[in-house]
Amino acid sequence: MARKKQLLETAETYVSVSMKVNGVPCSAKIEPRTLLVHFLRDVLGLTGTHWGCDTGNCGACTVIMNGKSVKSCNIFAVQADGAEIITIEGLAKDGQLHPIQEAFWENHGLQCGFCTPGFIMQAYWLLQQNPNPTEEEVRRGISGNICRCTGYQNIVKAILTAAEKMKR
């Protein structure tokens, strides 16, 4: 495991965490205050999960933890000890895009793309809960994620298209 962030020799209070990320078991020693988002990015090098706000407002850090969508900036890595995590890097299988990723791409559901992994993970969870959502249900389902570029029109389109694709 390529560790991006070093630990200080002198610090005393490290803790060990282990979790399964995208099916791969990982464990590391970290500072207890490490947030899950920083663990994924700085320790595991999974930079597809983005860090946007720290206050749970933007949703750029959304990942799936034990089957539920969570904002990984509002969870300490130690709270995820033993958990199964899915990040944006875990969606495409064998070089095949996940239908949600494909739909975001084709429908221009992104501009700068920084919020996109969070939206896709939230959509992934949403479509698992409700494979056949109405536009209103999609809007409600992603209202906890923020995009500053698109005005949301194409994000809604992309998720509705993905729902269709996933039925096929």
Binding site: K4, K5, Q6, L7, L8, T10, A11, E31, R33, R41, D42, G45, T47, G48, T49, H50, W51, G52, C53, D54, T55, G56, N57, C58, T87, I88, E89, L91, L97, Q101, E102, F104, W105, E106, H108, L110, Q111, C112, G113, F114, C115, T116, P117, I120, R139, I142, S143, G144, N145, I146, C147, R148, C149, T150, G151, Y152, Q153, N154, I155, V156
Partner: protein
Amino acid sequence: MQQFRWVGRPIPRLDALDKAVGRTKYPSDYYMDNMLWGKVLRSKYPHAKILSIDVSKALKHPGVVAVFTHKDIPNNRFGLFHKDRPVLCDDKVRYIGDPVALVAAETPEAAEDAANLIDVRYEPLPVVDDVFKAVEGDGAKVHERGNVARQTRITFGDVEEAFDNAEVIVENTYRTGAQIHAYLETEAGLSYIDEKGRITIVSCGQSPYRDKKEICETLALPEEKVRVIIPPVGGAFGGKDDISVQIFLALITLKTGRPAKMFLSREESTISSTKRHMAYITMKTAADKNGKLLANQTEIILDTGAYEGLGPAVLDVAIENCNGPYKIPNIDIKAKLVYTNNYFASAFRGFGAPQVMFAIESQVDAIAEKLGLDPIEIRLRNVVRRGDYGVFRNKIEGSVGIADALEKARMHELWLRRDDIRKTRHRPWIRQGVGVAAAVKGYTIGALPDKGVVGIELTTDGRFIIKLSSTEIGQGVVAAIAQIAADMLSCHLKNIEIKAADTSQTPDTSVTSASRQLYLAGNALRKASEEMIKKLITAFSIATGEPAYNASVSDGYVVSTSTGRRLSYSEAARILEEKGIGREAFGEYEVPRTTPIPGTLEIPHLFYMYAAAIAHVEVNILTGVVKVKKLVLLPDAGRVINPQTFTGQVEGAAAQGIGYAVLEDAKIEQGILRTINLSTYLIPSIKDAPAMEVIPIETTEDTGPLGAKGVGEIGIIPVAPAVANAIKHATGVRVLEVPITPERLYRRLKEAGQNTPR
């Protein structure tokens, strides 16, 4: 209109694929072995004298490698117009985001802990938080030169005489708030020493060459020792036009020889980053009985905060656009840019135009109402058309689509149903209304010199690499350039590769701002393409002995029009290589410009984008909450290169416009920003973004690449006035201040006796 193979088609952006799978590396995604983390200590006070800075405790903190102060900066003042900004503060701090010291440590936690151990002793000074007091001149000064950073007056005709002869005069004072960019990726980057010994900064930004210049000047480094790379950035909107982390990163690597990373927290970003200028605009506008605008007298004060940044140019754009897209024969504009301790204001999408458009478009609506004229009709009677002379007696030579946009708006079903919508009441406390606004803004940087270079390399396997310094900030410029290149070079889109924004590998394509990167880079690309095609044809002549005039390019081949013989691009590449002709071509484009009118820096522009917008709002008169139900945008931005990108740009800008109009309230109290994160500074979520309809008004700009203009900024500009005019239509109350928060609107409704449900 000419049809193209790639241009004009809604092709999914190539770069968007990587973004959808989480593979794109943004400035915050770069890491290196043995890397340090940088953390800035920022001012606690909006205005204070620095008495001493003691870094000794911080230096002893475990994991800390270095702590820097102003003593480490050879040239500690920089700025694009006026060098008034310190890299690290020395004599004073001038706003609460001002940087005082910089820590480099082994971990981000150690850096942050050590920053808190730096002992800075301040002597607080009176806070200059009010532009009107600031200009009086007898109080505290933000800078030695005084609080008026720039002032000017522009007059044409005689407003007083026009006022005497007017049928109707409307005079109001408007206030617009400080908007925060709130790009989803905060400022970030990584620095290291590259294989050629250059200090290399991979960071957010909008202009690699300009950032490099500021790094070299402040740190006294020779040009060849510094390299700036700007990867795809997680949103910018003007907010990454000024320097943020770049000089800090360069400093750490310069002094320690080690790689360094910075990634600002949301709070630090919100406090320290630039903002949209707060504006105070008084406007006195006159018209004759037919609604013909006769005169407009305007006083604009922009609060630039602690430093000028791009403020002088923002002031120019406010001056240029305060008369809207109208022919007004008599104008008088007094404008001031004022220093305060409120924040640091600089570029933000629209660049001075959203502020003044809110004012003039409210004025025009008020005049229409007084005269009993239809709001669209009065605008059509006054709008500028191609070939007309503008308010500065400047001939409008570029394409002008505002009359078309307004005509289409007039026939839109939302506008036609306007009175029915107003009469419909689902609830006794809900009022509905529909409003319209027009907008204009110049693109290109006006009368300032502006040129850029684009390079094309033909690879040995017959593909093209386009090299340019445009930065991909989400707007889709890279994909749009690829589409244009594929058409110009007559090849498949997949054979175009873009290499962007690396000062060691790509030529200077000038700054990515002012909605003109597509225009500028596209035109430079056209020139480079012509050069490249000449080379391809030369190779063909060498290979076949046929004269050049017989040959043209077609879908990856040079083809003889008389014999039908053809040569593939890869064979051409081999011949060019063998004969030493070279496989590279460059094109330079200098944007045509005007002579600035006296009293200004860069206006008027030669080229303008236009738009009209219709807003449908629902107002709750008991709470003052405004819900924008629908927005229709009719932008004239020339030929559409990629319909998806075009529409996306306009919708995204319009969503920011809704935020500006009713939601985004940066609360600054005595120089202290109270809304420091996304739970207190609210930007539109999907609940605030209504259904939108974008109707492109496709004019063809003859000077643009394949007829294109710029589109980045125009979508935000008409939204706030359209919403305000819709609120007036719904409730009878005109609000003179944005954002139109529930508190503000409720107060106005109450004053007007309009808050009784019935």
